[in-house]
Amino acid sequence: MRNQSMQFKARAHSALADVRLQSVLKRFGSGFADKRAAAREAYGADAFEALRDASAAIRDRGLANLDAWLLRFEQEATRRGATVLWAKDTAEIRCHVLEICARHGVKKAIKSKSMVSEEAGLNEALEANGVTPVETDLGEYIIQLAKEAPSHIIAPAIHKDKEQVSDLFAEHHHRPRLTDTEALTREAREMLRGHFLSADLGISGGNFLVAETGSVAIVTNEGNGRMVTTLPKVHVAITGIEKVIPTLEDLSTLNRVLPRSATGQEIENYFTIVTGARREGDLDGPEHMYVILVDAGRTRLVGSDMQEMLRCIRCGACMNHCPVFQTVGGHAYGWVYPGPMGSVLTPVYEGIENALDLPQAATLCGACEVACPVKIPLPELLRKLRERQMQAGLRPWRERAGFRIWAFAAKRPRLYALATRVAVRVLKLMGGAKGRISRLPLGSGWTLGRDMPAPEGRSFRELYAARRAGSGK
């Protein structure tokens, strides 16, 4: 997918000016966050915190010996009849999938949700090579019709309201326009049924890879994942190498924390564990199963001071709790992954110089870290990326100079006292009778949307010194 995160500010500006989007974002608001809070409460707050600790530990255990677990996964999956392919970058993902399509004469591919396939721009590649991709997750289906990218990793069409979906369906389904949510869903279901039955290839992601059994675990709410992985004669699961976990026992722990953190569900409607292709005597399942294990930037994090990011299980809790995401929506971020996790992943995968705004576009409020089911210290990682930007000379000279001047003065108390003495008087004057400044020469970012309350006119240190002198202390 083309990275447009360098246009974050402009995209955020458009998002803020989009009345319809703003209304959708306001309505969505803290919906998922409230559901997560209720699920945590129902589970028991202390028990849930223990579950987060255990989940983080499981992820760390997998990552500590990532190479060994991946080889174990390959061995077990191969033993059970799957073919394991490795992709060092997104170009290799496209190559592998197109080769599979050619080998099996694929004309139509049905897909369940896969963010890694978004990284690879897989749908465009398939179309360009004569294969029709059909997204079968309802949200993904909607945005495929709209020719848009997901705006949220688990709720890809969250930026659209029902009216927009009605219009899209009427336009593409050539049927009378429906307005009832259930009727709309039923119509999408009818449309997809034919695709499910006629597709030659099923493409899925993978929420977890279980090393000890060579299984791919997939969670969905619509059952489309199960159809995609069982109906067509070929199934390809595409997922990042970091998704490997050692055991089924680990899977059971992580599958308690994932749905609760994502949508507040105790368990998702469908939980599928796919282990190899169809065997003798199996009633269903694909004749061929492939697993594509993707690096595409992930190994850069292994062993680095940002390895914690690889714990991510793609639940979306960080964006559900992020006030910046809630204000501008996911498309502003400009690449596959939005919100706090995306603001870390985009610069790491796409190059720090190609996503300069994202690590800065956070108030470091910490809401994401508290919600993260695997305790990724997201604010800390964003701060580290800011440090890398600074070290690489990627910040504007005015910003760097500003810090140097500030630090130079703040290290010299007498100079600092003098400078602030002047500053507070000037600002007080600028504030006038109303005591507030509506336009700051060097702070237009601030005064664009709010006033700056003027200072009292004398600094604490002046007043305190005067008081001490007065009382003879």
């Binding site: 470091l364 601030w446 600094s459 305190y464």
Partner: protein
């Protein structure tokens, strides 16, 4: 628990410049609670702006300076969750792996307190000297809330004031959009977040919003006035508790 009664008041750079009366309110509360309060005259900034912006060198220099200024006190108290959070939770990261420095940092972090936390849990303040009559709503500042667990401390102190009625706003724990340099770099987003906060404040029906950090204070007050709200008061919890709000 320390046995000494000598508190070093870290006024914070924003209080020093923008709202000195909050510094005096903190002073009054601490002295009123029977502590000897020293205000190191050379203090400036804790280094957080540099730290949060990836400018480690300046953050480090200012942290060293602050440690030298306050380490001989029994306590360091600041009327800010953000600056206290910097000292308590981020200084150790700033000096990670440096044995000698780290020992000093950890000693200082252990005796550093956010003002309301200190007043409630160390000073055991029973009767705040302030007099106030009215309905307030409380905005939880992010760093205080999530780095230091400041949530009930200000509320319990305010509950000791007979004239104060607290009505909680919707989403009091959600960031107001300040975020330090974020407020300048992404002014438009920051102001939109502040607007959401102001809507929640207005909907609470309270005439006064109380909080514990200057950044949030300037942001919220600035947005309230810009949106035409001339009456809702924005007060630091210290002002209210000390009765220095006029």
């Amino acid at each position: 628990m320390h046995s000494g009664r000598r508190v070093g008041l870290f006024v914070t750079c924003l209080v020093d410049m923008m709202r000195p009366r909050i510094g005096f309110a903190a002073l009054k509360l601490l002295e009123g609670a029977g502590f000897e309060v020293v205000v190191p005259a050379t203090q400036t900034c804790c280094g957080q702006p540099g730290w949060n912006s990836g400018e480690r060198t300046s953050a480090r220099a200012l942290a060293e300076k602050l440690i030298g200024e306050f380490e001989d006190c029994d306590y360091l108290v600041a009327p800010s969750g953000s600056c206290s959070g910097m000292i308590k939770t981020h200084y150790p990261a700033l000096f990670a792996g440096e044995g000698a420095w780290l020992a000093r940092v950890e000693a200082l972090a252990a005796k550093s307190w956010e003002l309301t936390d200190f007043l409630l849990n160390v000073a055991r303040l029973e009767l705040p000297p302030g007099r106030f009559s009215g309905t307030i709503t409380y905005h939880d500042s992010c760093a205080g809330l999530r780095e230091l667990g400041i949530k009930q401390q200000p509320r319990r102190l305010l509950a000791k004031m007979p004239g104060v009625t607290l009505t909680e706003m919707k989403d009091s724990e959600i960031c107001c959009g300040f975020g330090g340099t974020f407020s300048i770099k992404f002014g438009e987003i920051s102001a939109a977040m502040a607007e959401t906060k102001c809507e929640n404040i207005a909907a609470s029906g309270a005439g006064t919003v109380v909080l514990g950090d200057l950044g949030c204070m300037l942001n919220i007050e600035g947005r309230l006035r810009r949106r035409g709200d001339e009456t809702t008061r924005v007060l630091h919890v210290a002002e209210l508790l000390a009765g220095e709000s006029d």
